[in-house]
């Protein structure tokens, strides 16, 4: 495989594909390094989400003699829901950052940060109360 062909000139901008033109309209192409950095941040969020998803299934399987069933199931579902929301939120954030960079606008605040922190704190508090009172 040779990649020796030159990039096309500025005269005719190449088509970016239907999905990209619909979801990332207008603006200018950002520095490719920023686009790649945005993608890596997205992937870091996805790995966090995967850890929560695996943890949700693990809680349900591993703690059957530790927690009552409603607590166990509740915690598992909280973790699974959080993992799901993080996956969706990571993609949404990737899109918003990419749009901001195209329009040279300030980057949006990450809503998934308070989501992860808040839900993590609530889950920890629930477990703490349960462990203290049982």
């Amino acid at each position: 495989m040779t990649n020796s062909q030159q990039a096309p000139g500025d005269a005719a901008p190449p088509s970016r594909g239907k999905i990209a033109e619909r979801l990332l309209p207008g603006g200018e192409e950002p520095d490719p390094r920023f686009t790649l950095a945005n993608e890596r941040t997205f992937l870091a969020w996805i790995r966090t989400s995967l850890a929560l998803l695996a943890g949700g299934i693990a809680i349900e399987a591993f703690t059957s003699d530790l927690f009552l069933e409603p607590v166990r199931k509740g915690l598992a579902i909280v973790l699974l829901l959080l993992g799901m929301l993080l996956s969706a939120g990571a993609a949404l954030r990737w899109l918003r950052v990419e749009r901001s960079m195209r329009n040279k606008a300030p980057l949006p605040l990450p809503l998934i940060v308070p989501l992860l922190a808040g839900a993590g704190a609530v889950a920890a508090a629930v477990v703490l109360v349960f462990v203290l009172w049982r």
């Binding site: 495989m1 990649n3 020796s4 062909q5 030159q6 990039a7 970016r16 594909g17 999905i19 990209a20 979801l23 990332l24 192409e29 520095d31 490719p32 390094r33 686009t35 790649l36 950095a37 945005n38 993608e39 890596r40 997205f42 992937l43 870091a44 996805i46 790995r47 989400s49 995967l50 850890a51 998803l53 695996a54 949700g56 299934i57 693990a58 349900e60 399987a61 059957s64 199931k73 598992a76 579902i77 699974l80 829901l81 993992g83 799901m84 993080l86 996956s87 969706a88 990571a90 993609a91 990737w94 899109l95 990419e98």
Partner: protein, 112 residues
């Protein structure tokens, strides 16, 4: 960037952005492999439905593995010509994998 670098052959980026991005995809692939191994581990507890979660995460890992070469090539070439197309399809599919695992997981927990 040094003009002597031929476009596409080497990217000449001292920050090694294409490498770092490929490695980030590689780490995500390994996380998916780990998750699919854990799902298999809990097959005796959760029963056959857990195989669905295994299939989704293992399938996503395989998809990343099979596209790594092409992905690195596109990013290396893109950095050298100062234009990278945002990989929107890959982002959508990866996020969809996480959402699908969550939905299936909640189903398995509620059914079990």
């Amino acid at each position: 960037m040094a003009p002597s670098v031929p476009a596409g052959d080497t990217h000449g980026d001292p920050g090694l952005q294409p490498e770092r991005t490929s490695l980030a995809w590689g780490r995500t692939m390994l996380a998916l492999v780990t998750a699919s191994a854990l799902f298999l581990r809990w097959l005796p507890h959760h029963g056959l439905p857990i195989l669905l979660l295994f299939a989704v995460s293992a399938g996503a890992a395989l998809a990343i593995y099979l596209t790594q070469r092409r992905r690195y090539g596109a990013k290396s070439h893109g950095v050298s010509r100062e234009h990278v197309d945002a990989d929107i399809t890959a982002v959508i599919w990866t996020a969809f994998t996480g959402i699908a695992l969550g939905v299936l997981g909640i189903g398995v927990v509620l059914a079990g």
